[in-house]
Symmetry: C3
Subunit: 442 residues, 3 copies
């Protein structure tokens, strides 16, 4: 065995691949960034990320320790006292990378002894836009997608950097709540009173979003949702009842959810927008949890329920994320068969190295490389994009070094081809800028 | 740490184990080989494997590009233009291994620039049988099992090499289609009119298959199929209605499927045949797909539904394959408890290195080695047996080197004992030749 | 690449971590040890562990070969003839470690040629208590939890070493069997006749168990069990019918199971006991199996069914084990969100290195380290605690060396912090000694 035999080189090779990948710009096709305040103004906005509050709460911190009415510094101090309980987690490693990269922190743990100085270093309330720009540049960001409520005015920022994306959960899952209809009327000017009015309003939403630079429609769906071809006549009465805020039977709720969802898919087809499906979350499973830390899932979910959707809308691209880590293998199979199904990123409870590595290996071995949508940050603040993408890029580099180069004999260039597609080229192609001609073509 | 410490030796050890395994003959207990045309006559028959057409279609190729009415060379050229989109997949690696091993190809990718020359090299339409023999020998094949429809005449080939296997999907799942009953009558000479006639016909099928050298009965079953002990009286009317081509209620379909399946299991018991269960596929989930690329699965499946079958037929050996990759762990548990349940190969959507490696590790750690049925090719053309077995043997070698030798301190001989059983000895023992005495013993 | 680059050091680092871990005492929070006969008196009591009898039976041994009426030596000899069929399994490796550590065995396989001498070496029927003590010391045991039936008198042993644990399966799942009510009456002196009497009796059980040093309540639950908040009025009649041994409808069984289970959780809250949930087994799936080798599971199970329980009993700690290996990822998510849900050990069909390694990696990456309950032996005889914990500690060391040190840059001390919590500190904290003050506080 020589010193440079393939397997012994794998770790070093991975580092070299990673070095190359880190020179590429980041295209982030899904986040919750607020374009008016993209980077964190203080450390509380970093530590307030639900991963830290929920993990701290899960390990014993009272929810009151991070209550909204507390001063930001107090919240940060309270949380810092709890970080040692969770400093084994990958989420903690993102925090350390942020502190080191953006705030000149030197250590590898943050506790009561470090929090004061770090809080001061991370304070950027007076230089907001300049700080946003610094984080953007340091991250080498090309584009970051937002998650916009349907009545977001979509104004006041550069939509080429912060790309609008129409989030449609409320329309599908909360149409029966009076507030939803009111918002829809206000946003579209349509006096929604029945199914026809609803459709007219939804079309107006798409027109406005596309005109404002939106490049995707997105929705998160519970595990028991099963899209079925809409039967408009059957839905007439339930939709009218929902709009009027009347009580609904479970089957009427199903009819409404199904009909609105199908209408959205039709608009995605008409307007040429990809429809991001984020499958799995059940909201408010743990009501006593901290904000953002109350949702979970039921692992008994299958993409087989989506067959009619994928077949019917052959012209719509469906970037799919699954929440339950054990559902990842099924997504590989559906992406391998359906041209319009693309595996997208590694989401939330599936976004930890153990699950990413397993899913990624299978995707690289069985899904055409032109269909891989590698990663998105899901971040609320710009600072998180870099450590999350770095986590993913490290795993991608290790996987390509081991499975591609060491076991399949690929060259580094060939491994990097796959990485470049997953990270940059495919997202650019799947989520292109939609010009006026795009709108006009409908 | 010395240069030859266990873990640093693992990759080299794996190569040595692999070298040894590659000297053994291949016993392939499941394929779709056509014994009249076992090896590919041209490259179109290689590229026509559904893995290539479906992955190319999934990445954008119109199904018309590989339509049956096109000249074979045109199909191959069309497909070659698409291979770059999927050259990351393990299926692509089989193709390259075929081109190199059998056709003197030197490169590591096949595109428009290579396809012409390669097509010429791979043309063997004039030397069919001799080419079959060359591939057979180069593959070091001992035996390959076929998948024969129940009305296959089973004549015209050496059944000791190409071993018949009775495929029973149509009998169980399509008894209500008039064509099935017609074929059954034609194949058996029994004027099937009711349940008794059906059983008589099925027994005749088994007699004929066993007399012709069949060594297994096989079936693929959808995830919602749940075998239940047959209640012949309850099935009388549904079966008669099915035979007459009358409309059936869903519960009648269930009754028929269950009854015919149970009858097959009884025949396996009577004739001493193993019953291969291939659990999971749902047919035609994506109707617009290419031939062979339309089936998928629902991951919500459990072997618990098979408990009554495994208990009742204690004397029947059930080699089991599961389609959903995440169902593999359950198969390990059922194989560990039930003497008559054996984990068999790594099938279709589960047949990629990431899933094979995970399943294999668990099988080797928890299933008695005498029960491991390592691998089968599932191939349609002989050329694929070698690269597919090589993929499996490489993973087997890596697993044994790492988990057995490095972590458990096994010697290489001990690792090879396990490999030999899984690859050669167990398949020979579980699927023995059934002589006249076998038939006579009923 | 230098000789001591991180990844090349991982195997050696793992050995160093393991060496340190092996110096710590073992805290074993779940076993089936008989405190009156904790260590094996002869080799038959070792080989009689269901793993060996069931794996041997699964690979062809008739159940009669290990029938209770045989002399112990004959059973051991019969089993030894079968061990070669399963010497690949991890369970076999425990056996060899026992033979080497406790009985001076030198080989690496046990067959007919070795069994006689080994049987003689392992005979300790004359020096029972002294042998128990030797095994206890050699194992470096601190504490081992028992599994006590509710009517166990809990007398005659040191409950600080052998800690009582109230096992409640019979109360929840077999209340309708006359024997259960009789035993309950005898154990508590309460003339149980209705729901109120049942509750009074259960409270008495908890009082007695806590007074005798119990530190946990435990139950194993089938996959279709879904805890629901008790509706005492609705349960009045079914419980009375059950107590009187009358026939019950399925919905009445559900009502009873749910009500008794909820009562147990209330008592855990009142008495401050953790409630171990062991989710998954279905009893007697393979009735013809050997003793202890008849149970399996249905993998379609979800912790989502437990949401109401986890929410309602916020003050009760629920150490959770799941049986289906593919359910492990969901447990990670629920432990990450719910403060009172802790992932506990790696159980039964999930207790093999392939599944442990995958689950452990995810737990270390996503569950706060203060919540990890690393491992328990589930053993019936003391001798098994050491090899099972050694298997786990080896995997823990490898995981920390690779994922923590090599990939996250942790120091060895930091890796050992996590290990110490999982193995020793967390179990001590979660299962503390309950003094009189604990009881008095109710």
């Amino acid at each position: 065995m020589t010193a440079d035999s393939p397997s012994r080189r794998a770790p070093e090779t991975a580092r070299e691949l990673l070095g190359e990948m880190r020179r590429w710009p980041i295209f982030d096709p899904h986040s919750h960034i607020d374009p008016h305040r993209p980077a964190a103004r203080d450390l509380d906005e970093v530590l307030g990320y639900h991963y830290y509050t929920e993990l701290a709460h899960s390990s014993g911190m009272p929810a009151a320790d991070v209550a909204p009415e507390l001063p930001p510094r107090a919240r940060a101090e309270n949380l810092a006292r709890r970080l040692s309980a969770l400093d084994n987690t990958v989420q903690h490693s993102w925090l350390i990378e942020i502190a080191r990269t953006f705030h000149g922190f030197q250590g590898d743990r943050i506790g009561p002894g470090e929090i004061g100085d770090l809080y001061d270093r991370a304070l950027h309330d007076r230089d907001g836009a300049a700080w946003d720009e610094r984080v953007w540049k340091a991250t080498n960001l090309e584009r970051v997608f937002l998650t916009n409520e349907f009545d977001d005015p979509l104004e006041g920022w550069d939509t080429d950097r912060y790309v609008p994306c129409l989030r449609t959960d409320d329309l599908v899952l909360k149409l029966h709540e009076p507030r939803t209809i009111e918002r829809l009327r206000a946003a579209t000017g349509v006096d929604v009173g029945d199914g026809a009015g609803l459709r007219e309003a939804v079309v107006k939403l798409f027109e406005r979003f596309v005109a404002k630079g939106a490049r995707a429609c997105a929705i998160s769906l519970p595990p028991d949702f099963a899209p079925r071809r809409a039967a408009p006549k059957r839905a007439v009465t339930p939709i009218r009842r929902a709009i009027r805020g009347m009580d609904l039977r479970p089957d009427e709720h199903d009819e409404i959810r199904g009909t609105v969802f199908w209408t959205l898919a039709e608009c995605c087809a008409d307007f040429g927008l990809p429809f991001d499906l984020m499958i799995g979350p059940i909201r408010n499973v743990y009501p006593a949890g901290v904000a953002g830390g109350r949702d979970l899932f039921d692992r008994r979910v299958s993409l087989h329920e989506y067959r009619e959707l994928f077949n019917h809308f052959a012209g719509v691209t469906f970037p799919v994320s699954t929440l339950s880590p054990d559902a990842g293998a099924e997504l590989v199979a559906y992406s391998w068969i359906f041209p319009n199904v693309l595996p997208m990123g590694h989401w939330w409870y599936s976004n930890i190295p153990a699950f990413i590595a397993a899913d990624l290996k299978a995707r690289i071995q069985a899904v055409p490389k032109v269909k891989l949508l590698g990663y998105y940050s899901d971040a609320y603040k710009l600072e998180f994009i870099l450590p999350k993408f770095d986590m993913y890029r490290r795993i991608l580099a290790e996987t390509l070094a081991e499975e591609g180069m060491s076991k399949q004999g690929w060259t580094a260039d060939r491994a990097l081809e796959v990485a470049k597609l997953a990270l940059v080229d495919n997202p650019r192609r799947v989520f292109p800028k939609r010009g006026r001609e795009g709108v006009a073509a409908i």
